[in-house]
Symmetry: C2
Subunit: 682 residues, 2 copies
Amino acid sequence: MIQKYIFGTYIETEAVVKEIAESVGQIPYLTKESDHVFTYQMGEDDIVYGLGESIRGMNKRGWVYEAYCNDDPNHIENIRSLYGAHNFFLVDGAETFGVFVDAPQKVQFDIGYTEREMMKITIAEGGYVIYIVEGDSPSEIVREFRSLIGRSYIPPKWAFGYGQSRWGYKNEADIRKVAEEYRKRDMPLDSIYLDIDYMERYKDFTVDKEKFPDLKGLAEDMKAQGIHLVPIIDAAVKVEEGYEVYEEGLEKGYFCKKENGDVFTAGVWPGKSHFPDFLNEEARQWFGKRYKVLLDQGIEGFWNDMNEPAIFYSEDHMREVFEKLEEYKSKNLDVDTFFAMKDLVLQTANRAEDYRSFYHNYKGENICHDRVHNLYGYYMTRAAQEAFEHLEPEKRILMYSRASYIGMHRYGGIWTGDNQSWWSHILLNIHQLPGLNMCGFLYTGADLGGFGSDVTEDLLMRWLELGIFTPLMRNHSAMGTREQEIYRFGNEEVFCNILGLRYALLPYIYSEFMKAVLKEEMMFRPLAFIYPKDVQARNVEDQLMVGESIMIAPVYTQNAKGRYVYLPEEMKLYRMRSEADMDVEVLSAGHHYVKAELNETLIFIRPDHIVPLAKAGQCVEKIDVSKLWLLSFIKDGAQYELYDDDGYSKDYNVEAHLTKITVEKDGRVGIDGAMKSECVVV
Amino acid sequence: MIQKYIFGTYIETEAVVKEIAESVGQIPYLTKESDHVFTYQMGEDDIVYGLGESIRGMNKRGWVYEAYCNDDPNHIENIRSLYGAHNFFLVDGAETFGVFVDAPQKVQFDIGYTEREMMKITIAEGGYVIYIVEGDSPSEIVREFRSLIGRSYIPPKWAFGYGQSRWGYKNEADIRKVAEEYRKRDMPLDSIYLDIDYMERYKDFTVDKEKFPDLKGLAEDMKAQGIHLVPIIDAAVKVEEGYEVYEEGLEKGYFCKKENGDVFTAGVWPGKSHFPDFLNEEARQWFGKRYKVLLDQGIEGFWNDMNEPAIFYSEDHMREVFEKLEEYKSKNLDVDTFFAMKDLVLQTANRAEDYRSFYHNYKGENICHDRVHNLYGYYMTRAAQEAFEHLEPEKRILMYSRASYIGMHRYGGIWTGDNQSWWSHILLNIHQLPGLNMCGFLYTGADLGGFGSDVTEDLLMRWLELGIFTPLMRNHSAMGTREQEIYRFGNEEVFCNILGLRYALLPYIYSEFMKAVLKEEMMFRPLAFIYPKDVQARNVEDQLMVGESIMIAPVYTQNAKGRYVYLPEEMKLYRMRSEADMDVEVLSAGHHYVKAELNETLIFIRPDHIVPLAKAGQCVEKIDVSKLWLLSFIKDGAQYELYDDDGYSKDYNVEAHLTKITVEKDGRVGIDGAMKSECVVV
């Protein structure tokens, strides 16, 4: 059951798609301390799940989080905001309920930071809506919430293949080289990403003709190899005379303006830039249509970046900075003045003052950016996806974003931003997945291997072994860091096998993704969602249930030869060295130390569950499903519903997409539905 | 056995105290690739221990480390240098041997970073000495190495008490308040630290008379409460007319000079400062004597800081920075220019160019700082300790440093620098302890609760539960972060009990520390050092053997209610809620999930071992040893040698300091030696 409470004059976010009547009377569970503050007294054993993309554990207790989309590449324990603003959380304890604070302004969640057992929600100035979601279990509450916010975005099937990316592929030759290196080693690959390097002076919807003289030709050649090019699009538009997007946007008044009516100018990649007012429907449509220039060159997917929006500096503030620097020039810089000077230069980016200095034209009203900050990336992505509906009505286009707000999950996926080549970020990746799923973000993944910092071969292997299971499986790294394409390292065979396993598992991954979307469920669940009465399972923070059949326990520490795993029930462990080379053992319920060498991926199968394994191919299209190997743990017999479709069309709810696979107690295998694969139990 | 190999004309570091004849012929184990490069092909299961204060795991494989003392407060996974340069490592595998690269210049250890199984040691320009240390086991190799470098520093006994520190105690009233808050709650405390705030404009050996009008009186009052004041001393000396230290140093030529003979000037806390040439014996003596001004005010301990040396900016470079900033003023700052400008201001600190721009007068030679960089903090600390030998010949003075090099371990301890209030830094603390012990640093500890960032109550509790076991047990935090004195939080009783447990354990901690020093052994050992044939023990990275009787397994993850523990043999677990409240259970060898609520410290006792527990007091002096409770796990009977002394004198090797405690198989208890405590088995 969902109750809706309205506080003050709120700004419509369009996060919610279901009509809910307003509830009257006191809001349940929470205590309203003042106009913008709510508290909740947590019990010692309560768990708080949710908040989507954020740092720390699956259980969010013990920190303070701020929902205020932020471009911060330091994903360290003490930051409060990341790129997304995902205001849904779920208390699982003495009382079990969900809360969605629908507010596009900053919202702070102090979950036992100030006081260990006190939750305090503080909403910045302005109205807001709070939804209280009730249900019989955490799973039920999430399903309720998801039905409130609408169906999650579905990408084309090829987007479940592996992608290679790097900020620093500087021209066509670099791209061709990546493709060649993969293909000559028979390494699977479905996409190569174009980071900002492909643009002409970082101008959206342009292609640098010197570096990429024939993007269309390149895209065609790549596609012939089963590889999709996926270019980046930034939020801000370069100020440059003669640049059509800039000129038209300026002429039509589509950019955000300051209070005095001047267009707001800030520095981002291209230097001085303007910010399209994606909240203005007309501007949104205008920007969305611009993607056509790339669609027309054979592009079928994009990633939207810098849309928190990231601001390196505002023109106005930078003037002040230089003035103040002048003052420091002749000083004896001691502790106070030196750090003040450093901060002056360091803290030009993403300043609250800048976010308060420009305005949107939203539903006919002039609204300060600060009050709708968290909608910006959401509405940029909406711009694209709404345009795709017109430009490519029959075809799914890949779209994911860095910034997001709940509601955007209907228009695109997200990647989790500029992480680092740190072991702790594998664990962060694990921690974030269920929270993201709760908030509707199903097509998601981290930059595998880490974006910033230098990777090591073992880190990349271990991270890819987790990435096998995430819908978005992309290896991405930053300019200036160690090159981390998998062919840069000594042990090519291991990398090949890890990717092969992903592709072999793809029917399962895709199937579980699609079922999670269509049934409004999570694909990645904390153990406690499946085993709610298991006290031990409630404390497990480094294992995940993936779909209906699998539990994973990735290795995320360097030099480890295995790890501890908790099994809430008896399971069958497949220790996979490749799609065809594995050990199998049945493990009893309870605690285990499980060996996992660097080349081994652990897949735990639940009792009476099945995981179909196809034969991997070099790209998603070439996966061979004519024969399916069934990983399974049969006690009384199991049934698995396999979803499949052509990967492009949008007729998801068709019976013909489902195939039923059964394994009887006596080992007999049955298959019923569209797929006519031969099935073999392994 | 130790072999000594000399390469080129090297600079004497005085790290080594034992005369060793030079070996001739080819160096064993390592392959000399060129004049400054050595490699070693590691086996898949080799473990590499050592390198003292550095990031990543106990097993150093999988990263590249640079020995080049560095003031970097970002102790994240991808940095290469911390404050210390500890060039001893130990390979434990197919071949087992130790290597000490005695070189005061930069040394790089690529331990499987570039290639997973290849170690590559690269020594910067200049000569160097390599010692190859052999022995029957890792423990034996460490003992050999420690005998080479001489006996570790021993602080006064009170320095094993708990200390409270914060950068930001701004005056006498603040200090008195801290003491009062502890004492009124009966919370143990032995020291309060004075960070840079106590000085007059950050000038060494001055006291700000406005903030601290009577330091001597304050020190006396504190001492009456059993509390020692421990002031900080920085490496650099403020440039200020009329400041005696500056004027005398300048007059006598005791500061480091540039190539042209001008004194080198750089900005640190006080702004423009000079760097005493601690490598010059006369300057060293001069600086050391200066500590007298504080000793005379009743001070008995110090911490030496900023002695990598940390440089915020050099005078010469800052001039260039301002010139270049001028150029950026009128530019359209795009990705290249903007980040270049940011870096210009950000990267003024600790620049290689600055370290190459000044000189030392070392043993009569003029030597570029860069070539002896790693000796600077070592020789500053030596300056102090050598002076103490004259100024206070009968008394141990507490001294620990931030920067260090092997050799300095004879003159002082170290703390592990400016860590953060991060859970991952509890684990880093665990990882560093054995490496530090190998390199001779026994009096050591981390800033408990974390220096930077905001702490939470649970983080502080869990970290203190590890800190119970570290010789240096100090809670320290930075200005601007959340206040983290233990009385700032809700649950005072738990904090009281944690500290109480430390004090009750102090006879054991002190005893194990002293025995480790006197026998040249480690106090904190990886499990594999005790159980070398246990393959599983070799992979344990989050448990430690503490002295001869205890294994610890600290909880270092948020919201955990317990953790996994590996027992190489049957042990008795004492789950301690206070010195007097505990559960006891015997656990079999193997893997266990062990519960540990927030208020519980896990102490595992080895078979036939004893841990004496005294009655805690408010300070070390007040610990009551008239009765000892013996935590023990008796199978055939156990014997424990308890070391104790007056805590000040230097006559360590006296029979009278040892008391033998025995527990027979039938439970009978015996005590023989100086202490006449009543002993009770619990």
